[in-house]
């Protein structure tokens, strides 16, 4: 019912606007075209300057309103570089924004039609044009310079001591794999994947390196102040590992592993205090459209201290152990089940 009334009000609004518009056209004809035009021009000229003033106030107000809701201090070392770059870009573009918008609306207001004014025939001026080619070029050189400096720092090779974790996206969840004590990931092949046989990544059990690989879902544990390198995969469509507080993002592409690395600065517990939010958790958001459950594809990152990390890791059972310890532990059975799993897929 309320919808109906809303439509009715809308319709009346239209009718009234239309009648006013029609009437003002007739009034315009009565007043004379010239006078009508001058009056409209003055109103719009005033609105131009009003828009400028209110707009700039609005920009300031919007900033005050939302500056507490955007990301605060970066939770990773790489993120600090991104924040510096953001600051430099914001200053340069901010200055250009304010100046050009003021000029635009100020000119519009100041040079509005007047019977007395003779417009100035000014088709070109090489000096001016060179100035405003060269000045943006210099500003952009600065931005490109800083940008690439940071970019290569962020995308460069991870330090050798970095912890390695494999992150795999699937519709609509995240799977994590830790290489275990041997620090080497076992081989995998996608045709071995079987959710029923608890082999979410298709690990090849014949490869001994795979035997101590820990596979978890939902939550990823990483160590604070230690570089961590993520090796990112996808099982089906393209996903994206988005880590807002670390300012990190990398696509998960089926068939093409990608990597990212960073150094987390604060543990989850520290962040809870810092943000005054006891429910805080670092989240992994999927940032690449991946199907109808895209918006539910949430993962959690627990940043913990070194001791907590080690303790957590030793408590984890390897995927291999989970699969085979329940089954009869005869060595023959192991190879058999490997074969079956391949055959099934």
């Amino acid at each position: 019912m309320s919808t109906f009334f809303l439509l009715l009000i809308l319709l009346f609004g239209f009718l009234i606007t239309f009648q006013i518009a029609k009437a003002s056209e007739y009034v315009g004809v009565l007043k004379g075209e010239k006078k009508n035009f001058e009056q409209n021009n003055r109103v719009n000229g005033f609105l131009m300057i009003a828009f400028l003033v209110l707009g700039l106030i609005g920009v300031y107000y919007c900033n005050e309103l939302y500056k507490g809701k955007i990301l605060g201090e970066s939770a990773s070392v790489h993120g600090e570089k991104i924040d510096t770059m953001m600051f430099i870009t914001l200053v340069i573009t901010g200055i250009v924004f304010v100046i050009t918008q003021i000029l635009l609306f100020w000119f519009a207001y100041k040079y509005q039609y007047s019977e007395k004014r003779k417009p100035y025939y000014f088709p070109h001026d090489n000096k001016l044009e060179i100035i405003w080619t060269v000045v943006p070029a210099i500003a952009l050189t600065v931005l490109v310079g800083f940008g690439l400096f940071y970019w290569f720092g962020i995308t460069g090779d991870a330090p050798p001591e970095a912890n390695q974790i494999e992150v795999t996206g699937k519709q609509f969840a995240w799977i994590f794999r830790y290489p275990g004590k041997d620090h080497v990931f076992g081989k995998k092949y996608y045709r071995n994947i079987s959710d029923a046989n608890n082999n979410a990544l298709g690990l090849i059990w014949d490869d001994p390196y795979s035997h101590d690989d820990v596979v978890t879902q939902g939550t990823m544990y990483i160590e604070v102040n230690k570089p961590v390198k993520l090796i990112i995969n996808s099982r089906d469509v393209i996903h994206d590992v988005g880590l807002v507080y670390f300012r990190q993002k990398m696509d998960a592409v089926p068939g093409i592993p990608t990597t990212m690395w960073f150094i987390p600065k604060f543990t989850t517990d520290e962040m809870k205090i810092k943000l005054g939010n006891p429910d805080f958790d670092y989240e992994i958001s999927c940032d690449q459209m991946c199907g109808k459950g895209h918006f539910t594809m949430r993962g959690v990152v627990k940043v913990v201290t070194h001791d907590e990390y080690v303790l957590w890791l030793v408590k984890q059972k390897s995927n291999y152990a989970e699969v085979f310890e329940k089954a009869p532990a005869a060595p023959g059975a192991k190879t058999d089940s490997t074969k079956t799993s391949v055959a099934v897929n």
Binding site: E25, K118, Y120, R191, S194
Partner: protein, 607 residues
């Protein structure tokens, strides 16, 4: 057509010319079908493109209103939605995820291709090229007619995809593979995706037929004296737009054909090592590259945004000069910067792919090339500002939209400097910052440029004016509303809020903007209502608007205003006018304006 006579220029056979021309104008008896449906008159084809584009714009905007309803009021139920859309798509008065993704996909596709490419270029290229270069019609009126009817067919196919049982394409307007290739990964990748591909194929054909026609007309059918540097900037902009389209649309088509093969012929161009959870099956495809599709898509996709914005720039330059009563500042720099943008447009596509795992060194090249585009863009902005400087501005509705365009283009262009910088793109990629950026710089600017054109040339199209009061309301609400909608989205982006989420309530990091989302949705509905006011004004004024009584109501120098108020097929009843000067002799030598057709005075210098 009788262009031949004029082109070959035999002044001594004037009588013959006139005879030919009369012949050209009146020889065919026009029926309703040939005049309004299968018309070969460029002006009628332009109107067909415009009105089809308007229908699409309303549908596309309506889709955005529907999904903004969900985003702004995630907890409210709208039972009438279920009444209208059925329980599959709006169960319990809530927009369902499948439908939400279908809506955002169709909104993007419709607005980018059918409104801002077909609607914008189709309308103004067809309408303005022959009238402003001084030609009877396009180089090939028949191909031109086909171009519209391919566009129309593409529209019908796209529209029909809304009604298939599994729903329309819903993988985003970029239809990234493998999502769009795998029916089991998404319902939208079933029949809807095939229709999407077919429709786009037809659209590419339409765009190529149109584009080749625009290029050949501009290059070959200019009237006597109309050298390239005397062309109005609208024509230059359309020329570069057409070149961009002709060179990049085939690449999209090839990418889509490979996609079609992957979908139905068992090939593996894009597919590699995929396990589908819903069916628990590993696909046999190996060795393809999902990233290849993105390269092919963005090789069109990026030039596409310039295909949208260049015509708008051309329209704005023209409207602004006319209503500033002053030449456009730096004509050659304007042409040069259009050219630079056109070239660079082909060299920046991978800036959409910084976080796909692209080699960082390759990424850095694309950073450099992308930020280079800011230079010609800056030149254009400063030249527009200088055009206003010391002018005598008439705030006609067209002029207001032109000024609004420049403001929007500045705002959106500057945020492009953030996104083109790969370092910042890591943080901002696929967040609301991107939505804010491209809507302001491409969507809103493109629409404002188009409105500037519509208001300015409506009198030439229909011989009547649009109602001014409604036009002013339309402008101010649209302009202010667009800023209110898209400006705060930058902050959502800076908070890392991802695009294409149905709801944010299950997230700790992104749920702080509920009030803002509600505000944005409300403003979006108001702006939508005002667009309906414009549509009403448009159709009402075609029949009942104030009549145009003078041939040149804006006091403009260009050729279209030397044609009769309601030009017939062939545009000029007598000879095609000859051109003696550039298009921007305003305020020269103390005269308000000097038409292009007026010969240079004995001691007058060319510009």
């Amino acid at each position: 057509m009788s262009n031949e006579a004029t082109l070959h220029g035999h002044p001594e056979v004037t009588t013959h010319d006139v005879h030919l021309d009369e012949h050209g104008v009146h020889h065919h008896k026009e029926t309703f079908i040939t005049k309004y449906v299968f018309s070969q008159d460029h002006k009628m084809i332009a109107k067909q493109f415009l009105i089809t584009g308007m229908v699409w714009a309303i549908l596309g905007a309506l889709m955005s209103v529907l999904f903004r309803l969900q985003l702004g009021y995630p907890d409210t139920t709208f039972p009438w939605l279920e009444d209208i859309l059925g329980s599959k798509w709006a169960k319990g008065g809530h927009i369902q995820p499948e439908f939400y993704y279908a809506l955002v996909t169709m909104h993007g596709t419709v607005l980018v291709f059918f409104v801002l490419t077909g609607g914008l270029s189709g309308t103004f290229a067809n309408f303005l090229i022959p009238l402003q270069v001084g030609a009877r019609d396009m180089a090939s009126p028949f191909l031109n007619m086909l171009s519209y009817w391919f566009f129309f067919t593409a529209s019908i196919v796209m529209l029909s995809s809304l009604f298939v049982e599994s729903g329309p394409a819903s993988g985003g307007w970029t239809t990234y593979v493998p999502l769009s290739a795998l029916a089991d990964a998404s319902d939208g990748s079933r029949a809807g995706m095939d229709l999407w591909i077919s429709s786009m194929a037809l659209f590419v054909v339409s765009s190529l037929l149109g584009g080749l026609n625009y290029i050949s007309t501009i290059l070959n059918l200019r009237t006597k004296g109309m050298s390239m540097t005397r062309l109005p900037l609208t024509i230059w902009a359309i020329l570069f737009t057409a070149i961009l389209g002709v060179l990049s649309f085939p690449v999209l088509l090839s990418g889509l054909i490979l996609l079609l093969f992957d979908r139905h012929a068992g090939t593996s161009f894009y597919l590699d090592k995929i396990f589908i959870a819903s069916t628990q099956q590993a696909l046999p495809n190996e060795g393809g590259s999902a990233i290849l599709y993105q390269h092919l898509f963005w090789f069109l996709g990026h030039p596409e945004v310039y295909i949208i914005i260049l015509p708008a720039m051309g329209l704005v330059s023209e409207v602004m000069a006319v209503n500033s009563r002053k030449p456009i500042f730096g004509y050659m720099a304007m042409v040069g910067s259009l050219f630079a943008i056109c070239v660079l447009a082909f060299l920046v596509w991978a800036h959409h792919m910084f976080v796909t795992g692209l080699n960082p060194l390759l990424g850095s090249v694309f950073v450099l090339l992308t930020l280079l585009i800011a230079i010609p863009s800056a030149i254009k902005v400063f030249n527009w500002l200088t055009t206003l400087w010391r002018g005598n501005l008439r705030f006609t509705p067209g002029m207001l939209f032109a000024i609004g365009f420049v403001s929007m283009f500045i705002s959106g262009g500057l945020t492009g400097i953030f996104l083109g910088n790969s370092t910042l793109d890591i943080q901002l990629h696929d967040t609301y910052f991107v939505i804010a950026h491209f809507h302001i710089v491409m969507g809103v600017s493109g629409m404002l440029g188009m409105f500037a054109g519509i208001y300015h040339w409506f009198p030439k199209m229909y011989g009547r004016y649009l109602n001014n009061t409604m036009a002013y309301i339309h402008f101010w609400v649209t302009f202010v509303g667009a800023y209110l909608i898209f400006w705060p989205m930058h902050y959502e982006g800076l908070a890392g809020m991802p695009r294409r989420y149905l709801t944010y309530s299950n997230w700790i990091s992104f749920n702080q903007f509920a009030d803002l989302n509600k505000f944005i949705s409300t403003v979006a509905m108001v702006v939508f209502a005002v667009q309906l006011l414009f549509v009403f004004n448009f159709f009402y004024s075609i029949f009942k608007g104030r009549r145009v009584v003078s041939q040149n109501p804006w006091g403009s120098t260009t050729l279209e205003w030397t044609a009769p108020i309601r030009p017939g097929h062939g545009n000029w009843p007598g000879e095609i006018p000859e051109v003696h000067r550039w298009a921007y002799d305003y305020a020269k030598d103390g005269r308000e304006f000097i038409p292009q057709t007026e010969p240079l005075g004995s001691n007058e210098s060319a510009h």
